[in-house]
Amino acid sequence: MLLEIDNLHYSIDGKHIFSDFSLSVAERGHHLLVGPSGSGKTTLINLISGLLSPDKGMVSIAGRNIATVTEAERDRVRREYIGIIFQTLRLVSALDLSGNLLLAQRLSRGATDAPLIATLLDRMGIAHLANAKPYQMSQGEAQRAAIARALATRPRLLIADEPTSALDALNARQVAELLLQCASDFGVTLLVATHDDRLASVFPNRIVLAQQGGRAD
């Protein structure tokens, strides 16, 4: 298992978000994490990516329990294993698209891989925007750029938090299909959190979050 969560407890201001929550995601699996607003999708993503620490339980990435390590170690695991795509926060504003991808690679691997960047930009259909700043891109282009940025570090786990909610139906479907296709092609485990019902038909596996806990379909 690439991702294993066991007996997870997490609360905010005394309110239990997760109690004894468990989840297993196999390597190269593609999952849709669905649930209503407030069900804890983003919190779960933050716990998996080490941006939050659980109150109790285990969150293991590639066999490494990040629930009990230091912040620096969580940073390292995130850097080496995880790529994250957000709804609107996609790229570093001061850098152009190429610069963003190069920076991501440098931060993650300590080295750059220009051919991979060229491949990704070509694959996302945004090669012509290599020198464009984020503010010069449309919503759809920026989201494709964010996917390219996340994949540029060759992560083993790609997490997307509401990647399509800011897009129209056509762009949403294209981005979802692109995510799935790229995850397959690059051999990446994909976990997409959304409340967008339009994606349900695209993804083979669903993890449904209720108010507390969850289960895999």
Binding site: N46, L51, L52, E71, D75, V92, S93, A94, G99, T153
Partner: protein
């Protein structure tokens, strides 16, 4: 992260440029003050070294010092030639060097004196020989370089001490011949043309053939005679000033008062006048120095505000960097680098600007050129200024950079996602 810091600075280029400009102006001002102060002081000390007293016409003692030692002001007037003999006869006087001014060539002063003036400044002949007969002239190293003059060439002096003052009347009837060129000495001699006192008299049609040779004076072939027996009427041989060096301390007590008692003469002490000049100069410099440091502090404040605003408005960007794998120290360092790069750019531009201004000033203003202002000398104090400005940049960036440690990633991402 260096590239990222540059990218952030480029991203807000106008603010960055203004901050750099503020620091550059303050650095340039401070460097100019340090350079002026240092070069002026060392120049004053070097040129007045060994001269205990200057004897000249009544007037401003500071003007007398400036015109006779540093050759940057107008003389106070002329003094009787006999004064030289009187001083040379005094047992407390080790050396008395005559100076006769009045003309220039291409803006460089022609100074009538004797050979002891050259040896007194520790200079020596580099090419040719010392002036011996009337209308022989030796050129200071800077004069020879600037005019391209060579040995054997003749030139005609113009009346007046500076090019602007020259009345357009060249002394065509009495051309000088370059018989020697001095080695560079780093003193005022570099910028002077030296000749005998008799040459200056000859140029101005002053008869001196019947004058008594002062004791110890050079061996120009003059007929002895009564001073009053001048053959060309009212023009009496005179000097502009006499530089005096004491043999012993008693001279310092007795000679100035003796000179000042005479109606035509005044004695000015270089040490006193240069100290007064430096003090006058220093008061103005101090005010300018305080202003420059205030400007530097304003530059630091501007960097602080710019980085603080940036850190707050780009909290999401900084959070994204952390998500992308940048450690807290890396993001902290990026902001710190922005402050440092801004300060370093200001320091570099300020240094270049100050030295360029010195170069232009030394070329544009004759007085500064005559003072031998060196535009390309680098002083240790400049390094201290650069260090202080870099420190200001780092300190200004410290608090904005520290905000990185307070960013709650999950909350920031939830707010912006």
């Amino acid at each position: 992260m260096l590239g990222l810091a540059f990218a952030y600075l480029r991203d807000r280029s106008l603010t960055t440029a203004l901050n750099i400009l503020l620091l550059a102006i303050s650095v340039a001002m401070l460097v100019l003050l340090v350079q002026f102060s240092s070069q002026m002081t060392s120049r004053l000390e070097r040129d007045s070294q060994g001269i205990d007293l200057v004897v000249g016409a009544k007037g401003s003692p500071l003007q007398l010092i400036l015109s006779s030692i540093f050759h940057v002001d107008q003389p106070t007037g002329n003094i009787p030639f006999d004064s030289l003999a009187m001083l040379r006869r005094d047992p407390a006087v080790r050396a008395a060097i005559p100076l006769a001014l009045g003309d220039n060539f291409d803006g460089y002063r022609i100074v009538g004196t004797d050979a002891s003036y050259v040896s007194f400044h520790g200079s020596k002949i580099d090419q040719g020989r010392m002036f011996e007969t009337p209308m022989d002239a030796i050129l200071g190293a800077a004069v020879a370089r600037a005019t391209g003059a060579r040995l054997g060439q003749q030139f005609i002096g113009s009346h007046g001490l500076e090019t602007e003052q020259a009345d357009g009347q060249g002394h065509d009837h009495a051309p000088f011949e370059t018989v020697g060129i001095l080695a560079p000495s780093g003193t005022v001699l570099d910028r002077l043309i030296l000749t005998s006192v008799e040459s200056v008299w000859d140029v101005h049609g002053i008869d001196h053939d019947h004058r008594e040779e002062p004791q110890g004076e050079h061996h120009h072939d003059h007929a002895t005679g009564d001073q009053s027996q001048t053959t060309r009427g009212a023009l009496e041989p005179e000097l502009t000033a006499i530089l005096v060096s004491y043999r012993n301390a008693s001279g310092a007590i007795r000679i100035p008062s003796m000179i000042n008692r005479q109606t035509d003469l005044q004695a000015a002490t270089p040490a006193v006048e240069t100290a007064r000049l430096i003090a006058l100069f220093g008061a103005g410099m101090e005010g300018a120095r305080i202003f420059a440091w205030l400007l530097a502090a304003t530059g630091g404040l501007a960097i602080f505000i710019a980085l603080l605003t940036m850190a707050r408005s780009r909290e999401a960007d900084l959070a994204l960097l952390r998500v992308m794998g940048a450690s807290k120290p890396q993001v902290f360092g990026t902001i710190l680098l922005e402050g440092l790069i801004t300060a370093a750019s200001g320091a570099i531009f300020g240094l270049i600007g100050a030295h360029a201004a010195l170069f232009i000033a030394s070329r544009s203003f004759q007085t500064l050129g005559e003072l031998g202002l060196n535009a390309f000398g680098f002083l240790p104090a400049e390094l201290a200024i650069v260090g202080a400005v870099l420190l200001i940049g780092v300190l200004a960036a410290l608090i904005p950079a520290a905000l990185v440690f307070r960013i709650n990633l999950a909350r920031t991402l939830a707010r912006t996602a």
